[in-house]
Structures are given as C-alpha cells and as structure tokens.
C-alpha cells in the first residue's frame, strides 16, 4: 500500500517541553486511524506539525509522496489534506451554507471577484453535503447559532468539501453529549466512506475507538507508545496503565 503520510524522526520541543519526540509514523491509503492519549501527550501537536501549523525542530514529513516539511498549511491542504479542529474553526458571521460554499470555492483555487458565491459553486454538491451531515434545515442560519455538536459537523463538512485524500479530525466528538456521540460518528463515517477518504481522528472514548477505527495509535509523552489493530493496542499494558487507567 502507498503511504499517504509519513514522518521520519519528527521532533519538536518548546521551552524544555518535548512535544514530539523523534516520531516515525506512516498512514496508508484506506486506513481509519484512531489516535488516543492523555491531554498533553502531543496528539494535536503532531497534527499541527504534519499540517504545517507548527514547524518541527527536526525530522521530515511527506504527504502523498511529497516532502511538505515546513510548508504552510495552505500549501499542504492543496495536496489533498483536510482537517477539522478540536475547537471548530468556522466563519461565524456566515451562514452554514455559505461556509460550505466558501470551502467549495476555495477548492477551485482561484476565487472569483464578481460572480456571486452561490453561483460559482456546485449547488447540488453543497446540498448533498449539508444532507450528509444533517445540517440541511439549518443551512440558512448563521454558523454562530449552531450548538457545539453541529459546529463540529460543520467543521468536518468544510474540510470534506475540499475532497481531500486524507481527513484529520481532532476530537470530533468532544463537547458532544455522550448519547449523541455515536450518531455523530456514524454520520461522519458514512460521509467518509461515500467519498473513500482515508481518515485519522483523535478520540478519548474507547467504545468509539474500537467500533470505528481499523488501527489505533497511542500517544504517551510525545511518542507513539503502541500502534496496531484496535484490540491489540487497547489491551497492551502501557496503554491500559498510562491512558485508560484500567490496569
């Protein structure tokens, strides 16, 4: 299989804290990776480095065969990477539909100057995506009016509109009521399957991890402590002791 993303000796430390410690990592096309680990273990930092938001002190990152080390996020995104955030990054003064329209327009590269936004994107695609993340009824409302769970969905949908090869989701279910978490994940996975997007999500809920992931990587203190099939990783001693607290 082809490596979609690959890192070699990736390290980052700030002010004496080692946030990424010599990480060698690869993710292949078609995988569905769950990343687990305690807060501060370096999960988001690793995403930030891979997507160009932070620059590593050492090591390299390849995305889809291209060396993207030190590039700006916008350039890496153009190679086919989408990302959603732990704190949803939305255009809060725009409507839900407009948020998706801006995404769709951005995918085309050149933004038009005088053609109305709604007309410069594929309307059907927008409606379909809204449907997919169950936001159709709220399409004309302001993004700022959405509750947290729907903000998360919109955040993911904006990344999906880019038709990425890889979608990285940072804690898609955090801040969502626990009874809604499975619905949300099911919705997201349906959307990802439909477009055959490789995915990587950070998650704390073991239930969700074992249900939706094909592979689990466990982060401890800036390192990948365990990596493999869900059952295996979740059963490993280090993970049980350091992350799940069940040992």
């Amino acid at each position: 299989m082809d490596a979609l993303i690959r890192t070699e000796g990736l390290s980052l430390s700030f002010g004496g804290v080692v946030a990424a410690d010599n990480i060698d990592f690869r993710l292949d096309v078609g995988e569905r990776l769950a990343v687990i680990g305690q807060n501060g273990a370096g999960k988001t930092t690793f995403i930030n480095i891979c997507t160009g938001f932070l620059k590593p002190t050492r090591g390299r990152v390849w995305f889809d065969g291209k060396d993207v080390t030190g590039m700006e996020p916008r350039h890496i995104v153009r190679f086919g990477l989408g990302r959603s955030f732990q704190l949803p990054q939305l255009f809060l003064d725009h409507t839900v539909r407009q948020c998706l329209e801006i995404s769709a327009a951005a995918r085309q590269g050149r933004l038009s100057f005088f053609k109305p936004l709604a007309q410069s994107v594929n309307r059907r695609e927008i409606e379909h995506t809204l449907e997919l993340v169950s936001l159709r009824e709220r399409g004309s409302e302001l993004a700022s009016s959405l509750p947290e769970g729907q903000r998360k969905l919109l955040d993911v949908a904006m990344a999906l509109m880019l038709n990425p090869k890889l979608l990285i989701m940072d804690e898609p279910t955090s801040g969502v009521a626990s009874e809604d978490k499975h619905d949300l994940m099911a919705t997201l996975m349906r959307a990802l399957d439909e477009r055959k997007v490789t995915s990587w999500f950070v998650e704390h809920d073991v239930d969700i991890v074992s249900r939706y992931a094909t592979r689990v990587a466990a982060w401890i203190a800036g390192k990948v402590a365990a990596d493999g099939p869900p059952a295996e990783v979740l059963a490993s001693a280090a993970v049980r002791r350091e992350i799940l607290g069940t040992a």
Partner: protein, 301 residues
Amino acid sequence: MSFELLMLAAADGFSYAGLLFLVSLGLTLIFGVQGILNVAHGSLYAFGGYTAATLAIWAAEKQAPTWVLLAALVLAALVVGVILGGILEIGLLRRVQDKDPVLQLLVTFAAFLIFEDLQRLIWGVSPYSSTEVVSRLGNFDIFGITYTAYQLLLIPAVAFGVYLGLLFALRRTRLGKQIIAVTHHREVATALGINARKIGLIAFIMGAFLGALGGALAAPTTSLVPGVGTDMIVLSFSVVATAGLGQITGALITALLIGLARSVAVYTVPELEVAVPYLIMVAVLLVRPNGLFTVAQARRI
C-alpha cells in the same frame, strides 16, 4: 552638525521624550486593562494643557510661589483625568464593552471629535501659554549649552518618577496586582473575586491622568493651539505600537528613541521632522510585527 547643536538636539529630544512617555504610558496602560486604543487620549492631553495654562496664568497673576505654580499643573491634570476620564469610561466605554472592537475604537474617535470642538468653545483658537514657571526655575549650563531647568530636569524627572512609581505600584501594591491580573485575563480575575469593572475604571482614570499630565507639563513650554491633541495622539500611537501594546518599559525606551530622533531631525532635515517617528514605526513593525518588546504567542487551535 556641531557638538553644540547635537547637545541642543539631545536636550530637546530628552525633554520631549519625557512628555511623550507620560502620554504614551497612559495610552498603553488603558490598552492593557481595557483592550481599547483610546483615540480621545489626545484630547486629554489638550485639556490637561489648557486647564494647566489657565490655572497657571491665574496663579502667576496672584504672585503665587513657585511650588503653587507647579502644584497647579498637577492639579489641572488630576481634575481633567478624573472628570473626563470618568465620563469617558462610565458614560461611553462601558456601554460598548461587548461590541465589536472596531466599534469600541470608533466610539473613542467620536469622543475625540466632540472634545475637539468643546476645547475650541472653551479656550478659543488663539494661542495659550504660561511660561512663568519655566523662568522661575531658571537656566543652567551643561556641556556648553544653556537650557531651562524645567525642561531638562523637571520634566524628565517627573517622567522617570512616574515610571518607577507605576512599576512599584503594579508589582507591590494590592491594587497594582489586581490591575495586572485584569490585564492578563479579565474572566479569570473576575472569577477570583476581583471587581474588574472598578479596576478598569481606576486604570482608565490613571491613564487619563497621565495623558493630561503630559499636556499640563507641556503647557509652560509650548503655546497651545487647536490641534495639539491631534498631533500628540498620533505620535503617542506610534510610540505605543512601536514598543508593543501594553509594554511599559518598552514605551519608555521607544519614547526616548523617537523623541531623540525627532529632535535630531529638527536640526538636520527639518522637512522630515513630522515623518521621522512614523518612519521608525514602519521600520520596526516590518522587522518585528508585534512591536519591539512584545513576545509573540501562538494561537491554540
């Protein structure tokens, strides 16, 4: 440029930097606590100046002793700082606290427009000045030049005294620590039981007083005309932005830098006198986008 001219320029710049620092300090203090860049700060400078000149002229007519003349300057600044500062904060800024930062800025611009006309209504358009206190304090010789003690000793001494006093107050007193807490994190400070509203008002009045004090101390050495506030506000903006918003020691160093550069320009390339501070600011911001003394922080996502 002869040595004498250079010394004259240095003396001018040093004295001017003192005034500039006082005004900028007030501006940066208010920004730190309230998060608002107060455009009306220039009006506080002008009102401080005019009020001080009025009081000083009256006191001089009554043959008051020198210390009374000096006290009149400080009193004028206090009155202006408390009254105008209070009106601005309670009457205006509180009402826009939750609004867009653009609107908060514009509200202070509106206040500036109002004060500008108010000042013209009260004091007219003819130049205003009261140099009595400067001549009473006399001149002295240094490095081959003769300069007034008021400008070369008193103003810098007051400025530096205010700087030390403020640093001490912020670090050592209860009120100062509360101000710092509100500056760093308003919500957390409130949660800890600090009355952020009250602290905001106090800090605003302190800042307003400093702006007015700058004007009051300038009054005996310049003639006040409509527009003095305008010149001062844009200049102190440039000091605060060059130093980095909320930087107190930074404002001191930047005020010195800009004050000296400006007066050297007056003697060498007078055409650029007004432009020099802004050229410095543009040059600094190109290299350090958040100002000379600000440590950039990454946004969490």
